[in-house]
């Protein structure tokens, strides 16, 4: 029985001025009395922990849907036996989504075969065949997971033959997951086919019957295979994928309660484009990605913030902040900004102290999830059009003026 369900909430029509498909939604759980409103970012968690931050320090406004890439759990299989579930093993009570790939780690070509696919970690490749994958999912017992797929379709190097293999294998892996009753429920199905419109169409057609036959067990679809994951996806041009995504949505128009997600390092301007494209659930890996690079989110995301001179994001590891007496972002109410100065964070970086990344991550989590909260509020309040422009302007004034 599915323990997680999704439903979309219709928006008033005046939002259609930008001809977009932005939408609100709600994720509900049968096991926990809570509702997660979408569009939302997940909390990126690796090996059961948020990088650099213990759970007591996670800001209150963070959406507690944990995104735990499978690669970070493969090593733990031995430890995990007889523990019931990864949730109880890692002391996690919030819902867990296990995407097959880690948005932070670049996928290198050649990781899959007819009977296996690979997940990638910083330490390298971990091969999973169908049985091992299923065993892992049974050990983890995630609230929702993404069945294994191929998806090894780098933009420029993908041949026709590769795309055919990608489809065949992904379909085989999907069917083996859906055919196993013990791991059948709560899946997010990977849609593959690279950036090739025709192959994506074929794949969707191939598996459409599975979606209609398993509607209760399928929470949503994930747009995979567009890119190779990892740092470069921060700069992806999302608008170039628009026709492909729209075509999929047209095809799935009758399935109102299918959630749309996509792995990516979701820079805030791309989040806006993603919301415009009707995506509901966003990887939260961007926060871990920039925090690791000592970058501070500083864009203005609500009316209470004064316009700042720092730009949309800035790197705190710069000498100009060595004497900075202000907080990372003025007007920010996060724990870091309420208690520390730029000078202190800069000092922690210079002295290579762990607390630097902790404080930076706390701010960025607060800022990023606060941003998603504002997205939802502006969608509800019918002010989406102004809001999206305000954000996009901060990220690329020139580009936006062209539109």
């Amino acid at each position: 029985m599915a323990t997680m369900s999704f439903k979309t909430i219709s928006l008033s029509s005046s939002i259609a001025t930008t001809a977009n498909t932005a939408r609100l939604g709600e994720l509900a759980f049968s096991t926990i009395p809570k509702i997660i409103e979408t569009p939302a970012a997940m909390l990126y968690v690796r090996s059961g922990v948020v990088p650099d931050v213990t759970y007591d320090l996670i800001p209150d406004n963070v959406t507690r849907l944990f995104e735990i890439p499978l690669g970070s759990l493969v090593d733990s299989m031995k430890n995990l036996e007889h523990t019931g579930s990864y949730g109880s093993f890692a002391r996690i009570t919030d819902p867990i989504y296990c995407p097959f790939h880690d948005s932070l780690v670049e996928l290198r070509p050649g990781g899959s075969g007819n009977m296996y696919s690979s997940v990638w970690t910083k330490a390298g490749r971990q091969e999973l065949n169908i049985d091992r994958f299923k065993k892992l999912i049974k050990l983890i017992q995630p609230s929702v997971y993404e069945p294994m797929f191929d998806g090894d379709t780098p933009i420029d190097k993908t041949t026709e033959k590769r795309l055919v293999k990608d489809r065949e294998r992904s379909r085989r892996f999907l069917e083996s997951s859906l055919g196993d009753k013990t791991i059948l429920s709560n899946t997010i199905i990977a849609l593959v086919g690279g950036q090739d419109k025709r192959h994506r169409q074929i794949y969707l057609n191939d598996i459409l019957s599975h979606i209609s036959n398993n509607e209760n067990n399928i929470l949503g679809v994930s747009f995979e295979g567009f890119h190779s994951y990892g740092p470069s996806t921060e700069n992806i041009d999302l608008n170039s994928l628009k026709p492909i995504i729209e075509e999929t949505q047209t095809k799935l128009v009758d399935y109102k309660n299918i959630l749309f997600t996509m792995p990516l390092l979701w820079r805030p301007d791309n989040v806006i484009h993603g919301v415009d494209l009707g995506l509901d659930l966003f990887s939260g890996a961007y926060v871990a990605h920039i925090s690791d690079r000592l970058i501070i989110l500083s864009f203005r995301y609500n009316d209470r913030m004064s316009s700042n001179t720092l730009g949309a994001e800035y790197n705190i590891n710069s000498k100009q902040y060595a004497n900075g007496k202000q907080s990372l972002v003025v007007d920010c109410d996060c724990y870091t900004c309420k208690n520390y100065t730029q000078a202190y964070v800069y000092h922690l970086i210079q002295t290579k102290e762990l607390l630097s990344r902790t404080l930076i991550t706390i701010h960025n989590l607060y800022h990023y999830h606060g941003f998603f909260q504002q997205i939802r509020e502006n969608l509800k309040a019918n002010t989406w059009n102004d809001y999206r422009i305000m954000i996009l302007k901060q990220y690329a004034i020139e580009q936006e003026q062209k539109e």
Binding site: N79, R91, K325, N339
Partner: protein
């Protein structure tokens, strides 16, 4: 003095141990007085290994240590002055103690040379020649603003003997007087002298007697815990406490292994510091009464017990098992945070157990039980037998 108030509240009937209450004059110790014997974790550069001040308070940590040598270099006295001292810079409202910088200099900087004027050294950062005088050390410590400051002393290795030890003892005394005159904030900060004299009983006795004459708010016992024979170590500790006034806090520098804390509390010491509990956490080790668990080891893969089921730290309380921690140590920095939380908490709880045992007049039994768990089936080391015998405990 205005800056520090110390009261012994309980005295052990058997050993030289005592329980005390330490208060600082400034209002930033809003979370209550510090109970002694106390362990002070080391937050070298204005932070304690990834933990926030709130997390430290939650672990009942009320006083931490900062290193003047490091802080003097980064962020440096100018910025610290602008920021109103280290307390506000690092957002810590608990107690703070700084060392003089001398020890770090001698141990970290290869090219250092001691003259009567001070410690001459080449900056490891820009190779310029610098001189750390007693006056300079106090000037920086006054800017850092710690509740307790240390005098600059002439540090010699605890494994050498001969005239150099005597020279260092007398020079440290002369430097003490220069530190006292240089101290510009005696109403807000307390300056502790350091008993020196290496492993020479006579010198140490002389050193203690001389510094006691200066009537300072508290005293430190230095020059030990540098790899000397443990049988020498404990004799020097107990000799030092014998000559220090009963109504002033006694700080044994650089000591922090659990067994040493138990024994040296019995020998009459009130304050301790050591980098070990936080450093070992970084390598994946968790402290327990029998020593430490190296959670990297394969034997913990299927060990579904808590680190320590008696532990009250948030990590053990939330049910993290050895098996789970085994999957994240050396992989995620968050594992360092978790083990640091446990280890600091372990130290705090150990001190609290020691205090409670002294208060309830069952410290001898506590020690016997602790030693038996610590040594398990092995023979009890001689120095432990001897030291405890000196305070009327027969194992």
């Amino acid at each position: 003095s205005k800056a520090l108030n110390f009261q012994v509240t309980h005295i052990c009937n058997t050993t030289k141990a005592r329980v005390g209450c330490l208060k600082f004059g400034r209002n930033h110790t809003s979370r209550g007085p510090i109970e002694t014997p106390v362990f002070m974790p080391v937050g070298t550069q204005g932070t304690l290994k990834g933990l926030t001040p709130e997390q430290l308070h939650q672990l009942n940590c009320r006083i931490i240590l900062g290193n003047t040598y490091h802080l003097g270099h980064r962020p440096g006295p100018d910025l610290l002055k602008e920021m109103g001292g280290l307390h506000s810079f690092m957002h810590w409202d608990g107690g703070l103690l700084t060392d003089s910088g001398g020890f770090q200099m001698v141990s970290l900087v290869k090219l250092s040379e001691v003259t009567e004027e001070g410690v001459k050294f080449q900056s490891p950062h820009d190779q310029t020649e610098m001189l750390l005088t007693p006056e300079k050390s106090i000037e920086i410590q006054n800017i850092i603003g710690a509740d307790i400051m240390m005098q600059l002393d002439d540090v010699v290795s605890s494994t050498i003997s001969g005239p150099r030890v005597e020279e260092a003892m007398w020079r440290s005394l002369r430097w003490l007087d220069r530190c006292i005159s240089a101290h510009s904030r005696p109403d807000e900060q307390s300056l502790f002298p350091i008993v020196q004299g290496g492993l020479d009983e006579k010198l140490r006795e002389q050193s203690a007697k001389e510094i006691v004459k200066r009537n300072c708010p508290g005293y430190a016992i230095g020059g030990l815990s540098g790899g000397e024979d443990k049988d020498h170590f404990w004799r020097m500790v107990t000799l030092s406490t014998d000559h220090l006034p009963k109504d002033k806090p006694r700080y044994l520098m650089g000591v922090g292994f659990a067994i040493d804390l138990v024994v040296c509390s019995a020998l009459g010491c009130d304050m301790f510091d050591c980098v070990f509990p936080t450093r070992t956490a970084r390598f994946g080790c968790a402290l327990v009464d029998s020593g430490q668990l190296n959670l990297n080891k394969q034997i913990y893969e299927k060990d579904h017990r808590l680190i320590d089921d008696q532990c009250i730290c948030p990590v053990c309380k939330s049910g993290y098992t050895r098996s789970y921690l085994n999957t994240i140590v050396n992989k995620e920095t968050t594992a360092c945070h978790l083990l640091t939380i446990h280890n600091v908490s372990y130290q705090m709880r150990l001190m609290s157990r020691i205090r409670q045992a002294i208060i309830e007049q069952r410290f001898p039994d506590f020690i016997k039980e602790f030693v038996s768990i610590y040594c398990q089936d092995k023979d009890i080391p001689k120095w432990i037998m001897n030291s405890l015998k000196s305070v009327n405990i027969e194992l």
